[in-house]
């Protein structure tokens, strides 16, 4: 592998993209969020155009790009924003004047715009930039001058999005990944909101060097978020009922180094318990081996077929679906996480107990899980259990109280509200998420 990757220990904090790195592309201020893997062949579909992502390689995270029309078709061109000191000053001067305009003179008859679609196509043929088209649209709008300054800004923004789309290059962190999934595919992550995720990590005291027992039935988001906090120390034991581990594809979106991936291990609940008697089941070992093998097969077949890394589809959502993600994994050669835990490691966990427990299992009866998992936790170790419904947690909390297995039990529901902050126009955002789910937290006690 002769990729120009930075030193693996630097990946966690790298500020510049590299070939094969996973990125989050924010198109038009959050209108669309696309996860992608940067390579010479990867492209991004914006509107009806395909743009190569090649220009993004080697750019700092946070760089802004605009779609420009080139001879060989549209391409992404980096824009360096100016520090807007002067600009802002002008605006503020303007805003100090009382707004005298209102919408009494605006008539909705669809005749305000003098430019036709053909006119715009013609401009494009002549090589006009997106910004020039936006300016032309404004100049040819009969109502623009009558609008309030606020709606002028809105108009300009709307046209900009259509004719001069912008792409912001973001580094995927637990924050951005969880926000993007919550926005586009909340079902896949069990409606776990970013503030709820952050609380889970705190309440379970996720700290470097800890051994964290995780039940992650939300696609790997929880596992990834915990691994990000461990930073290549400690261990994650991703456990599951039955023989098939739960998928954790989302882990691959984090740019984890090998060191971090090696800390993410899998172990079935059966193995965790049978290890208590010191007899690790031979059969299960075999199954684990098969599982790994089938995964590598899948990867090989993908590398044979998938030519380009393209996550976004016509629907414009573009968040990696399971298939897309697998396609990504081929070019990226992202280090693989989720090896089967060795007998020795399991034995160590059994002897010492885990230092934290986190559960996000929307489809399993919480109590039946907790009563099996809690005994694996060290005394005085905290746990945090997520559920999108209140009742299973209430039942679980009651049972824990009755059985005197834990103290400090509390069910919390986070509430998150975003604000629009603008001069004289500050208010809560008109739309908000009404629920981010519930958390049951507590501390295991010594009952011996």
């Amino acid at each position: 592998m002769s990729q120009n990757k930075p030193q693996s220990d630097a990946i966690q904090n790298a500020k510049v993209t590299w070939e094969g790195c996973s990125v989050l592309l924010d198109i038009n201020d959050g209108d669309r969020l696309v996860f992608s893997r940067l390579s010479a062949g990867s492209t991004l579909k914006i509107g009806n155009k395909n743009c190569s992502l090649q220009p993004l390689i080697g750019c700092p995270f946070g760089s802004l790009f605009q779609v420009e029309n080139g001879k060989k078709g549209p391409y992404l061109s980096r824009i360096i924003p100016s520090t807007e000191d002067n600009n802002v000053q002008d605006k503020e001067d303007f805003q100090i004047k009382e707004e005298s305009r209102d919408n009494r003179a605006i008539i909705d008859n669809n005749q305000a715009q003098n430019l036709t679609g053909e006119d715009i196509d013609e401009m494009r043929r002549q090589g006009a930039t997106g910004n020039e088209i936006v300016e032309a649209l404004i100049a040819n709008s009969t109502t623009f001058e009558k609008k309030t300054q606020f709606s002028q800004e809105k108009y300009r923004r709307r046209k900009q999005k259509k004719y001069a789309p912008k792409v912001l290059l973001r580094r995927p962190f637990a924050r951005s990944i969880s926000e993007a999934y919550f926005k586009k595919y909340p079902v896949r992550i069990g409606f776990l909101r970013v503030d709820t995720l952050s609380l889970l990590l705190s309440m379970a005291n996720i700290a470097p060097n800890s051994d964290v027992l995780v039940v992650d039935m939300i696609g790997g988001l929880l596992t990834g978020a915990v691994a990000e906090r461990l930073g290549g120390t400690g261990f994650i034991c991703n456990t599951y009922l039955g023989d098939t581990p739960y998928p954790m594809d989302i882990v691959r979106i984090f740019n984890f180094s090998n060191e971090i991936c090696q800390r993410i291990l899998r172990c079935s609940l059966n193995d965790l318990h049978s290890a208590q008697n010191g007899t690790c089941d031979q059969k299960q070992q075999l199954e684990g081996g098969c599982m790994l093998e089938s995964q590598s097969n899948e990867q090989i077949s993908l590398s044979a077929t998938a030519e380009e890394v393209q996550l976004s589809s016509e629907d414009g959502l573009g968040l990696a679906s399971d298939n897309d993600l697998s396609a990504v994994s081929k070019t990226c050669k992202a280090p693989k996480a989720g090896d089967k835990a060795s007998k020795e490691t399991i034995q160590l966990w059994k002897e010492n107990g885990f230092s934290s427990l986190i559960i996000a299992a929307p489809e399993v009866d919480v109590w039946s899980f907790v009563k099996d998992l809690l005994p694996l936790l060290s005394y005085s170790a905290p746990f945090a259990i997520y559920h999108q419904y209140l009742q299973p947690l209430a039942t679980c909390m009651h049972n824990l109280q009755v059985e005197k297995m834990a103290i400090g039990l509390q069910i919390s529901e986070p509430w998150l509200r975003e604000y629009q902050v603008l001069p004289s126009r500050t208010h809560p955002c008109m739309q908000m998420s009404a629920t981010g789910g519930y958390i049951l937290s507590g501390t295991r006690i010594y009952t011996g």
Partner: protein
């Protein structure tokens, strides 16, 4: 509190020893931090507890007083510490703290700047997030408060991860030693807009700043200042609602005064017997409702990312 010494790591075999910091848990809302000292005692409404009785017991143990009263001894965590620390200032609580750490994208190895230090509630969680290789530099203009914070960080065992400086960040800005070094900056100041230009100079490219302010006027002014050098400016309010859980008789309109704990253990709920519970009119049911009182406001959290210019 943090595992810097592997022998101190929480495990089935980790017992309380002389010199350990323990959280004495009476109730979920009555806790106290105590340094274990062989000859010392703890006296509270349950009686007298001898520390010597605690030594050699596992963390999480129930211990008894001379009168038979009991408390639990817990290993400290940043969350528990926030509940027991001495309030020298208004402090940040778990909802804001968690959100700040997540939104500032703090991971092990980060360099974080904070001002003011206050009572060190957030600082403790910041230290956990940057450990084992990162560092938190926190500043307060109040010399005595900074000294108390330093003592606290010694006590909780995080002093190798935190440096407390005495400095008026609003007036002087952050020290020049940190120019372009910080992954994130956290401000909890009365006039954050005065410190924002300096904070911007300290940040690495694409670094994130957070400002916590109780009043919307402060937010308004901070955002105006942020717009020149920062992007992705977002303001949030985050709160927690807690729930009370009780067991009710479904055929009875009145709640039993004993609450849930007074009842004999109900039959374990199987996934399939949910329906049968409803069919049986006299069965017990666990129900939850929001606690009557809750915190209505803490502060607004404004986040912004340094514009990427190079």
């Amino acid at each position: 509190m943090l595992i810097t010494d592997p022998t101190k790591k929480l495990s089935f075999n980790r017992c309380i020893s002389d010199g350990d910091l323990v959280i004495v848990y009476e109730r979920h809302d009555i806790m106290k931090a105590v340094k274990v000292c062989e000859n010392s005692v703890l006296q509270n409404r349950f009686g007298v507890f001898k520390h010597s009785d605690w030594i050699g017991k596992p963390f999480g143990s129930k211990v008894f007083s001379d009168k038979g009263g009991f408390v639990y001894l817990l290993a400290p965590t940043p969350e528990l510490w926030t509940l027991v620390l001495s309030h020298r200032t208004q402090i940040l609580y778990i909802a804001d703290i968690s959100f700040v750490i997540m939104y500032l994208e703090i991971v092990p190895g980060c360099l974080v700047l904070e001002s003011g230090t206050g009572s060190g509630s957030l600082t403790t969680s910041l230290a956990r997030a940057v450990a084992p290789t990162g560092h938190v530099y926190t500043f307060d203009f109040h010399e005595q408060r900074a000294a108390s914070a330093r003592e606290d960080f010694e006590r909780t065992g995080i002093s190798s991860l935190v440096t407390v400086g005495v400095r008026d960040i609003q007036g002087e800005g952050f020290p020049d030693d940190f120019v372009g070094m910080a992954d994130s900056v956290f401000l909890d100041l009365p006039q954050p807009w005065l410190a924002i230009p300096s904070a911007g100079r300290m940040l690495k490219q694409d670094g994130i700043l957070c400002s916590f302010s109780p009043c919307i006027e402060q937010v308004q002014r901070s955002c105006e200042t942020l717009r020149s050098n920062f992007t992705d400016i977002r303001t949030f309010e985050v709160l927690l609602r807690t729930y009370e859980v009780r067991e009710w008789k479904t055929d009875c309109s009145k709640v039993d005064e004993g609450g849930s704990v007074g009842f004999p253990p109900c039959k374990r709920r199987q996934p399939s017997n949910e329906r049968s519970v409803q069919d049986n009119p006299s069965s017990l049911q666990v129900m939850a409702r929001p606690s009557a009182e809750s915190r209505g406001h803490t502060g607004y959290l404004t986040f912004a990312r340094l514009k990427c210019l190079s």
